[in-house]
């Protein structure tokens, strides 16, 4: 088979993996080698679907022994199959890298013989790149559920980032749609990676020269809309992953009906808006100090499509507003719609020189259109009774429901894990 055909098959099979980040790691090029990573990450192109291309995202092989209902590469699906040799991927990565097409390699694979067998072959590619080619660019390795701890440890010393895909937001859905995978096989490697990262960090404080283990951390991915879980469930799961496993990112992927299966919903279009709102809510969790249960509640378990989650929160809490931008602290400012991390930092820096007015806020970069109803500044106060748009079901007082655990984290073994 021609290399060109292999590239078409195996990048086509890899495109449903969302992560493309090349950030969070800084590595320098040695004098003989090539490549470095940039802490902020660099996008090299944008594909026709508008998503950034930063890494050569490719599968080692799409021959699969598993039969996950949602996956285009499932055993039962009739698609063209191919596998790369180690040399092919290594050369392609180097050739693309020196032309500045890419920031590095994102390598995943279908499960060929066994999880360990497949992972071992992926590690081999990374080892060749690092040791033989002195490659200093970014490497993201996908860890297949069920991979043994020894292999995970080896992978982490070659890769900048590791990721294990959770795929479906609950154990039940996993059982129905991905019968070859199970919760334990997914969580165990995640736990292992998390532990390795924190142990490595602690050791490196004493021994600076120790090699780094997955310096850009670990991430995961969930499919949205292939199974019945609501947004509250998904956000609780995400915040659990951030808090307990110190994940760098949770990626959400709107379900694309790539294969037909009676177990899957028939969608006319992928739920792209829902995916977008989930990312917005995810940002609120990670950077804006929100809790999952503030964004949604049992009474209102799904994100509104019409407005973003931050605005929705603001409309539900009229008593919190208006906020005086010349006095409020950072946490309070971050809750105001139209103010982001940057504009909040700028407001705090600038108001030392005197109270700010609307014109100055505009210059600072505040989105006045959105912020105006919620703020007070030197020359502006919102009308007494702000016109609050009414969204169905959003004005009920949330009942004090007992905090619920996610079923993904519910098992006794997790409880033990948490105590240790």
């Amino acid at each position: 088979m021609l290399l060109d055909e292999k590239i078409a098959i195996l990048s086509g099979a890899a495109r449903y993996d969302v992560s493309c980040s090349s950030s969070g790691s800084s590595r320098g090029a040695g004098c003989a080698g090539m490549g470095a990573t940039s802490r902020a990450g660099i996008c090299h192109s944008w594909a026709d679907d508008g998503r950034c291309i930063s890494l050569l995202k490719i599968l080692l092989s799409n021959y699969c022994i598993y039969d996950c209902a949602y996956c285009i590469n499932r055993r039962g699906n009739d698609v063209p199959r191919a596998s790369f040799t180690t040399d092919e991927i290594v050369n392609l990565t180097i050739d693309f890298y020196r032309r500045n097409y890419i920031e590095g390699l994102f390598l995943s694979s279908a499960v060929q013989v066994s999880p360990d067998n497949t992972t071992e072959r992926m590690i081999n590619v990374a080892r060749r790149l690092r040791n033989d080619e002195q490659f200093g660019g970014y490497i993201h390795l996908k860890i297949i559920p069920g991979t043994s701890p020894e292999l995970i440890q080896r992978a982490g010393f070659y890769a900048d980032r590791l990721s294990v895909n959770i795929e479906l937001p609950s154990e039940k859905s996993l059982k129905t749609l991905a019968p070859d995978k199970n919760k334990q096989a997914i969580l165990q490697p995640m736990r292992r990676i998390g532990r390795e990262i924190s142990e490595n960090r602690a050791l490196r404080r004493k021994q600076k020269r120790l090699p780094r283990f997955a310096p850009a951390g670990q991430s995961t991915q969930l499919i949205i809309g292939a199974s019945p879980e609501n947004d509250l469930h998904i956000l609780r799961l995400a915040s659990g992953l951030y808090e307990r496993y110190a994940l760098k990112r949770v990626y959400y992927s709107a379900y694309m009906p790539a294969v037909h299966d009676r177990l899957l919903p028939e969608l006319s279009a992928p739920p792209l808006l829902r995916e977008h709102r989930l990312y917005q809510a995810d940002w609120l969790l990670r950077y804006y100090g929100f809790q999952a249960d503030e964004i949604l509640s049992e009474d209102m378990p799904d994100l509104a499509e019409a407005i973003d989650p931050k605005q929705a929160w603001a409309y539900r809490h009229p008593g919190f507003f208006p906020v005086d931008v010349n006095r409020a602290d950072r946490e309070t400012l971050l809750r105001v719609p139209g103010l982001g991390l940057t504009s909040v930092a700028r407001i705090i820096a600038s108001r030392r020189f005197g109270p700010l007015d609307l014109k100055q806020l505009d210059r600072i970069g505040v989105v006045l259109k959105r912020a105006r109803p919620f703020i007070i500044c030197r020359d502006y106060q919102p009308p007494k009774e702000p016109a609050v748009p009414v969204f169905a079901g959003q004005h009920k007082t949330p009942q004090a429901a007992p905090p619920q655990q996610l079923d993904f984290f519910d098992e006794p073994d997790m409880a033990i894990q948490r105590r240790s």
Partner: protein, 239 residues
């Protein structure tokens, strides 16, 4: 700007010669650029203020679209008189303008770190043509010096006919030869003196670029907003 710092009164109007229209009653003064004075001035600035402020002035001064000169002068005078803290006052018009200009230039430099495409010429040299809005070549060159220290490469600003060459040890100003300039005007793979491996590799890249997009999510608007059309000229995947 060095003169301003030394205490010269700020000018009423300042602009690049190409964009300047003389005023009937004004007094004119032409300022010659001088790399020695500029370097000294930047050093002074770094000492008196901060590294990030020096960088901000440097980026803003490399703006290629004009119209920023007045506020840059005002900003420098402000720094001198009010101290470096003034840089934190985002609500001051001159500070905001200089920051915006600097961000535009730095933004383009960052964007080009990703969008630069090196083509392997038949001589083995990696050659990257680009037509940036601003004078960003030096910033981009610094990035690739750290990244590809062992290779020989050249960044070629086709719009301004300038180039910077890395010979494995130093960054040098270079003059692209005329045949290459002519080939750039045509800009297709057949006209350019590319190596055989280069043609093969760019085909692989085009294939990858095409298949990595998810078919049901086509979104040309988002693609253009991240990667404006004016950069497509030199993008291998967009040819």
């Amino acid at each position: 700007m060095a003169q301003l710092w030394e205490g010269s009164p700020p000018p009423d109007v300042i602009a690049a010669i190409s964009r300047y229209s003389p005023d009937l009653f004004g007094q004119e003064q032409t300022i010659q650029s001088n790399s020695r004075t500029a370097a000294d001035f930047l050093k002074t600035l770094e000492k008196a203020a901060h590294r990030t402020i020096r960088n901000r002035v440097m980026y803003a001064a490399c703006c290629g679209t004009g119209g920023f000169e007045q506020s840059l002068c005002e900003y420098v005078v402000l720094l001198r008189d009010a101290g470096p803290e003034i840089d934190e006052n985002f609500s001051h018009p001159a500070v905001a303008q200089v920051r915006r200009t600097a961000r535009q230039v730095a933004g383009e430099a960052h964007r080009l770190k990703g969008l630069v495409r090196f083509r392997e010429l038949s001589t083995g040299l990696l050659w990257a043509p680009l037509s940036p809005d601003h004078h960003v070549l030096p910033f981009v060159a610094g990035h690739f010096r750290r990244r590809m220290p062992a290779a020989n490469w050249v960044l070629h600003d086709v719009k301004r006919n300038e180039a910077i060459l890395w010979d494995g040890q130093r960054l040098l100003p270079a003059m692209p030869d005329e045949s290459l300039q002519a080939a750039c005007a045509i800009n297709n793979d057949a006209a350019l003196p590319l190596s055989p491996a280069e043609k093969q590799c760019s085909e692989y890249w085009r294939t990858f670029f095409k298949t990595i997009a998810v078919p049901g999510r086509t979104n040309p608007e988002l693609q253009r907003s991240n990667m404006p059309r004016r950069y497509w000229t030199w993008l291998v995947e967009k040819q």
